[in-house]
C-alpha cells in the first residue's frame, strides 16, 4: 500500500488548475481530500476526477474566502471530518488587473482581500489547530511576483509578498511545535489565470507545477520555487539595487 494512503489534505481554491493537479498526485496515493472552492459545480467536477483517480475519499465545501466566518467554519468542518489534517494547502487567489487597481482603491483593496487577508483568515485557525496537534504541514501558494514590486503587477506582488512575510513568521512560530510551513512560489504556469499573458519558454504546465508542489510539501521545504529555476532568476532580480531597479520597465 502506498505510504500516503491515509494522508488527510485540505485544499482551499481547489478548482484552480495548479491545486487540482496537486490534488491528483495525492489522489493517486489514495489520500483523503477536503476541497473548498467558490463554484459548487466546478468543485464537484474536480472531486469526481479525484475519486476516479483513487482518492480515499473526497469531500467538498463551497467557500468564498472573503467570508471570514465561513473560513472558520470550513477549517472546523475539514478538521472534524477527518479527525485532524496532515496537510492544508491554500491555493486560492486572483490575478488582479493592475491598471484597474491603479484607478480604484476599492479594486486594490479587494485584490488584497482575496490574495492576502483571506489567507490570514484561514491561516489563523489552521495554525492554532496544527500547533495543538503538534504535527502536520501548512502549505501556501504565493508567487514569484511577491519577491519584488514591479510596476506592471505590484498590487498582486504586495499581497503575495505580505503573505510571504506572514508565512515566514508562522514558520518560525510553528517550527517549535513540530509543524512545517511551506511557502510555494510558482513562476509562470499555464493555467486559466495566465490565459491573457503571452506564453514564453519560462511557462511550466500546471501538471508539472502540481507535481513539484506535492514534492515540496512531502519534503517539508521552507520556501520552494515552482519550478526550481525561478530561484536563481529571482535571486538575481532581488539583488538588483533599488536605484537600478526603479529605472527598469518590468
Amino acid at each position: 500500500m502506498p505510504p500516503e494512503t491515509s494522508t488527510r489534505v485540505l485544499i482551499v481554491g481547489a478548482t484552480s488548475a495548479i491545486a487540482a493537479e496537486t490534488a491528483r498526485v495525492y489522489a493517486a496515493y489514495g489520500a483523503r481530500l477536503f476541497l473548498a472552492g467558490r463554484n459548487p459545480q466546478r468543485l464537484e467536477a474536480v472531486a469526481a476526477d479525484l475519486r476516479v483517480r483513487g482518492a480515499g475519499s473526497v469531500l467538498t465545501a463551497v467557500l468564498d474566502v472573503t467570508d471570514r466566518q465561513r473560513c472558520d467554519a470550513v477549517v472546523e468542518e475539514a478538521w472534524s471530518t477527518f479527525g485532524g489534517l496532515d496537510v492544508a494547502l491554500l491555493a486560492h487567489g486572483v490575478l488582479p488587473d493592475q491598471a484597474r487597481c491603479q484607478a480604484s482603491a476599492a479594486a486594490t483593496i479587494e485584490a488584497l482581500e482575496v490574495n492576502f487577508t483571506s489567507a490570514v483568515a484561514l491561516l489563523t485557525p489552521l495554525a492554532n489547530r496544527f500547533e495543538s496537534a503538534g504535527r502536520g504541514c501548512i502549505a501556501v501558494i504565493t508567487s514569484v511576483a511577491g519577491d519584488r514590486g514591479r510596476q506592471s503587477n505590484y498590487v498582486y506582488g504586495a499581497a503575495k509578498g505580505g503573505l510571504d512575510r506572514f508565512l515566514e513568521g508562522l514558520r518560525n512560530r510553528l517550527f517549535h511545535a513540530g509543524v512545517a510551513v511551506v511557502t510555494l512560489k510558482p513562476g509562470f504556469v499555464d493555467t486559466p489565470m495566465t490565459a491573457g499573458l503571452t506564453q514564453g519558454p519560462l511557462f511550466a504546465s500546471a501538471r508539472r507545477a502540481g507535481r513539484d508542489i506535492h514534492r515540496s510539501i512531502e519534503r517539508r521545504r521552507d520556501v520552494a520555487y515552482i519550478p526550481w529555476f525561478w530561484r536563481p532568476i529571482m535571486a538575481i532580480l532581488r539583488s538588483l539595487p533599488e536605484t537600478v531597479f526603479k529605472r527598469l520597465r518590468l
Binding site: N39, Q41, R42, A45, D49, V52, Q199
Partner: protein
C-alpha cells in the same frame, strides 16, 4: 499562435481567436461568437481537419477530468479533452484497456470520436466509435444533448470531424486484459503476395499491422514486416508509464533530409534489420502500439514545409489489385516515401456517417510536401475513387471536393446534422457550398 497547428504542419493556418473551454458545467456561449468555431485538443490530425484559419478555436485541453469509472463493467466516463495516454495510465493497472487505440496515445477522447479512429484490431473490434455508449454534445444554440448509438446526431458526430457541435464528455466501454504486455510475432515478408496471405489469416490475432517498403521495385515491391500480437497474460513485464517523449526533435530539419536516398536506406535497414524470418517477443504495450511516441515532434524531420500522410482504404479483392496499383504508382513516381503502414480492415460497420474505415485494405504513407507529391496524390485519389474506396479526412490536407463527395456517400445526411456555427479549414475546402 503556433500552438494551434496540425501534426503535419501543413497547411499553415492562424485562428482569429482562441476560446478556452475549461468546465463542462459552464461552457462559453457560442452563439455570441461571430466567426466559425472548431474544437481543438491535441492537434494530432495531420492535415487541416483540426485547423480553423480565421475562425475561433475552442481549446478543450483543460476539459481533462475523469467523471466515473465502473470497474466491474469497464465503463469509463470522462471529459472530451482527456488523452488516451491518461486513460491507459489509469485503467491498465486495473486490468482494463481501451477498446481501440491509434498509433499515438497523445490524442483526446473528443478527437477519437470526431475522427472515429481505428487501430491494429480493426478486423476484430471495428472503430473507436463502436465502443462509445454515449456522449454529451453542446450545440452553438447552447442546447446540450446526450447522444446514444442509433441517434442520428450520434451517427453524425462519430467521425463528424468536430462539425456537429462540441463534445463535452463521453462514456467508453473498455475491455478486460490479462496484463500490460503484448505478445508479438514479427514476420518478414518478401512482397505483396506474401502480405496478402498473412493478412487473410488475421482472425486468430487481436492486433495486426504491416510496415511496408514502398520504395522497393520489381519483385520486391511491397516487402516488409508483418506484426501480430495479443494481450499477454500477467508476467513480470514492466508496465508502460505515462511519460512524455524522452527526445523531442528540436528544429525543423533542412528541406530534403528525408529524400529518396535516405529513406531508401532507412527502409532497407528496417527490412534487413530483422535477420530472422520470424521473431517472437513480449513487450510493454506502449512499445507495441506507440513506437513513435518516444520521439516528440517527429514530423519536424520532414522540414519546415511539413508533410502529408496519405491514408486510403480500397476493397480487398483477389490478388490485391487496387493496393498493388497504388504501390506501383508510388514506386514509379520516385517520390520519397517513408515506410508505409498496411492493414486489412474487417467488416464491422463503422457507426459514423463520415467514418473512414470500411472493409478492405488500408494503406498509410508519409510524404514531404512538394508540388510533385500533390500531383501524385491526386493520381492515387483517382485509383481510390474508381474502386469505391476512401481517403482519411483526419490525415488529409489536399483532397478535392469531388473526391470527398465520392468517398463519403452519406454526406447529405451528415450535412443535415451539422451545426452551422462549426466549421474547419478542411470543411471549407471540401464542401464548396
Amino acid at each position: 499562435m503556433p500552438r494551434y497547428r496540425s501534426w503535419g504542419r501543413y497547411p499553415a493556418a492562424t485562428p482569429a481567436a482562441v476560446l478556452p473551454v475549461d468546465w463542462r458545467s459552464d461552457p462559453p456561449a457560442l452563439d455570441r461568437v461571430r466567426q466559425p468555431v472548431l474544437p481543438y485538443a491535441c492537434g494530432r490530425s495531420y492535415g487541416d481537419s483540426c485547423l480553423n484559419d480565421g475562425g475561433v478555436v475552442l481549446d478543450v485541453r483543460r476539459l481533462d477530468r475523469l467523471i466515473a469509472f465502473d470497474q466491474e463493467r469497464g465503463l469509463l466516463q470522462c471529459e472530451a479533452g482527456v488523452t488516451l495516454a491518461e486513460i491507459l495510465a489509469l485503467v491498465v493497472p486495473r486490468g482494463w484497456f481501451l477498446p481501440v487505440v491509434p498509433g499515438t496515445r497523445w490524442v483526446s477522447v473528443g478527437g477519437s470520436i470526431a475522427n472515429d479512429i481505428h487501430g491494429k484490431n480493426h478486423h476484430r473490434a471495428g472503430t473507436f466509435g463502436a465502443h462509445v455508449s454515449r456522449f454529451e454534445l453542446l450545440r452553438s444554440t447552447g442546447q446540450r444533448t446526450v447522444c446514444t448509438p442509433g441517434d442520428e446526431l450520434f451517427r453524425a458526430t462519430v467521425g463528424g470531424l468536430g462539425l456537429t457541435g462540441l463534445i463535452l464528455w463521453a462514456e467508453i466501454m473498455l475491455k478486460r486484459i490479462p496484463g500490460p504486455a503484448i505478445a508479438v510475432e514479427r514476420i518478414r515478408f518478401p512482397g505483396l503476395d506474401a502480405f496478402f496471405a498473412l493478412a487473410a489469416d488475421d482472425r486468430d490475432f487481436e492486433y495486426t499491422v504491416a510496415w511496408v517498403d514502398c520504395l522497393a521495385r520489381g519483385p520486391r515491391l511491397g516487402r516488409g514486416i508483418y506484426m501480430r500480437g495479443d494481450h499477454a497474460p500477467q508476467d513480470g513485464t514492466v508496465p508502460s508509464p505515462l511519460r512524455p517523449a524522452r527526445f523531442r526533435v528540436p528544429l525543423d530539419a533542412p528541406a530534403g533530409v528525408l529524400n529518396a536516398t535516405t529513406l531508401g536506406l532507412f527502409n532497407e535497414a528496417y527490412y534487413r534489420g530483422q535477420l530472422r524470418g520470424r521473431l517472437r517477443s513480449t513487450v510493454p504495450y506502449a512499445a507495441f502500439f506507440f513506437p513513435l511516441d518516444g520521439v516528440g515532434d517527429w514530423g519536424r524531420l520532414y522540414g519546415a514545409n511539413g508533410f502529408v500522410q496519405y491514408q486510403c482504404v480500397v476493397p480487398d479483392v483477389g490478388g490485391g489489385g487496387p493496393i498493388r496499383a497504388i504501390f506501383e504508382r508510388i514506386s514509379r513516381s520516385g517520390e520519397p516515401a517513408s515506410l508505409a503502414v498496411l492493414k486489412r480492415f474487417g467488416n464491422i460497420r463503422s457507426p459514423g456517417l463520415l467514418s473512414f474505415p470500411r472493409e478492405g485494405m488500408t494503406l498509410a504513407v508519409d510524404f514531404a510536401v512538394r508540388g510533385r507529391t500533390l500531383a501524385l496524390l491526386e493520381d492515387l485519389d483517382a485509383i481510390v475513387r474508381e474502386t469505391g474506396g476512401a481517403v482519411y479526412p483526419a490525415k488529409d490536407a489536399r483532397m478535392s471536393a469531388a473526391s470527398f463527395r465520392a468517398f463519403f456517400p452519406e454526406l447529405e445526411r451528415f450535412t443535415a446534422q451539422r451545426d452551422a456555427k462549426f466549421s474547419s479549414s478542411f470543411w471549407r475546402r471540401v464542401h464548396a457550398s
